[in-house]
Amino acid sequence: GNQEDSVDGGLSGIVKIDGSSTVFPITEAVAEEFQIANNKVQVTVGVSGTGGGFKKFTIGETDINDASRPIKDSEIAKTKENNINYLELPVAYDGLSVVVNKENDWVDYLTIDELKKIWEPNSQITKWSQVRPGWPDEEIKLYGPGTDSGTFDYFTEEIIGESGASRSDYTASEDDNVLVKGIEGDKYSLGYFGFAYYVENKERMKVVPIDAGNGPIVPTLKTINDGSYSPLSRPLFIYVNTESLKRPEVYEFVKFYMENAQLAEEVGYVRLPQNQYDENLQAIAAYQQ
């Protein structure tokens, strides 16, 4: 019944969510709005990174996991071990943004190869001039997400070719403010993180167009949506434990999530086509009690 959907707050219970810091802003926004509508439901959203979140999700500690990459085989094996069944629901697109300091006036774009040279394990690049002749002979200061993040997995997978393979002598943090602060503070910095974080901090840094062979492309809502910003755009997901989904508060929460896709856009991500959200709604409908 849809009467539980009402604003009178008849719904109560707990929804436990954890996982990706990339997806966090969306889920947080949904949680915030959902709780305003249903003030007796307690929604907790942790930020353990996609992998960290799956660790809890696969043993049934959480109801929903935010993920900035698809679940891995090893994680699927865990769910089987623990008799956990789940649904994978795409919720938005993200473009990985490569960014530099505002005062950086030499980088016009970067190619995939250059990115790879900079970030691969044991990379010998320590100065900008080693990336492209003519660039300053200054030490390059690197910032990037920590190894628990899906962003890291995705970036290494796409750029270096092996998930998790990366040089290690950079400032790695799950804390996105560390990255923003660092890039903003060091003139010779270079970093990457989720598109949303760039959108929120547009004035404080410069985004670098990426050339994957078809000329430099700047990540925008449009280029991410139409797939031209490649290979650094990707879908984001939430994973829902189907057992949990039978609880009305979880069900309503997920439903709310899908019905309020504008929130994803509001926090800087790219909406999926509407039919994807409708599919999601159909997929969960089976679990409504």
């Binding site: 954890d18 926004a29 915030e32 307690q42 907790t44 942790g46 930020v47 996105d176 403010n177 901090n201």
Partner: protein, 292 residues
């Protein structure tokens, strides 16, 4: 003969006095350094935080919009934590101190207990976080709940309370105990009616200071996974929670500039809580200080 004026090298005395004054200023400056730092820190935080500090901030849950964000769930979380930690830590801490000071003879066991407690007082708080994670969150399967956080804090501040209580007990003059024993009181009667009442103000002072440590701790709670978006007031010890320092850490971790100011506003709230506790402790101490 005017020995006092002329004997001894007057210049020498001048030099010694100048040296004294020079170092005096240095020592004074060193002392003022702390005062000045505190002032700078407070001014910095206040300038950043005050414009954001209003009733709506105090009475709202965290939000992704800076202008909607508030401290309510963290504030209640801190109160819960205080409420759960205080009685357990107080009873265990004072009990341990009583055992060590009043009952344990001068045995090896007592020495071991004593050294152990002194060492625990110096264990980094993050190690308590690892302990809490291993024992309460995983071992007792309490999850990331208020009670798991509070018990971790209990262990963290226990040694501080024990040591402070021991000092308080030691400061009760033996003449007081003797007076009681000489009237035929038993040991427990003496402890309960004479020793504890006399030591209580200092014990409370120590406990309050220890609790204010617990309220300001961040690292151990991060270890047990309390860094979470929580937009409700916890209703039971088994609930998820957030507390002031964690919420502040969360805000400082956000990229948007405004959240830095929100964090400052949160810091002001945290400092007000702590300063009131410190104030209470200092008040208690001054009120009962010169009793003997």
């Amino acid at each position: 003969m005017s020995m006092i004026r002329h004997n001894g090298n007057i210049k020498d005395i001048e030099k010694r006095r100048k040296k004294n004054m020079f170092y005096f200023s240095l020592f004074l400056f060193a002392t003022l350094f702390g005062v000045i730092t505190l002032a700078v820190l407070l001014v910095d935080v206040f300038i950043k935080g005050i414009p954001w500090l209003d009733w709506q901030f105090l009475n709202s849950f965290p939000s992704r919009f800076p202008e909607r964000a508030g401290i309510k769930s963290a504030f209640y979380g801190t109160l819960w934590m205080l409420g759960l930690t205080a009685p357990i830590a107080f009873i265990l801490g004072v009990g341990t101190a009583l055992y060590l000071n009043e009952y344990a003879g001068d045995t090896k066991l007592k020495q071991i207990l004593q050294i152990n407690i002194n060492n625990l007082a110096g264990v980094p708080s993050i190690v308590y976080g690892l302990l809490g994670l291993g024992v309460f969150v995983r071992g007792f399967a309490l999850g990331r709940s208020l009670i798991a956080g509070s018990l971790t804090m209990v262990l963290l501040i226990l040694p501080i309370i024990v040591v402070a209580s021991q000092e308080a007990l030691k400061s009760v003059p033996s003449s007081q105990r003797n007076a009681s024993y000489a009237l035929g009181a038993t040991k427990w009667q003496t402890i309960r009616r004479v020793v504890i009442p006399a030591a209580l103000p200092n014990i409370l002072t120590g406990t309050i200071l220890a609790l204010s440590r617990a309220i300001g701790e961040t690292a151990p709670l991060i270890m047990i996974g309390a860094l979470t978006f929580v937009a409700f007031v916890p209703g039971s010890p088994m609930d998820s929670f957030t507390v002031l320092p964690i919420q502040i850490f969360n805000w400082t971790s956000r990229p948007q500039e405004d959240f830095q100011y929100i964090a400052a506003a949160g810091i002001i709230v945290l400092l007000v809580v702590l300063l009131s506790m410190n104030g209470l402790a200092i008040y208690l101490r001054n009120k009962y200080q010169n009793k003997y």
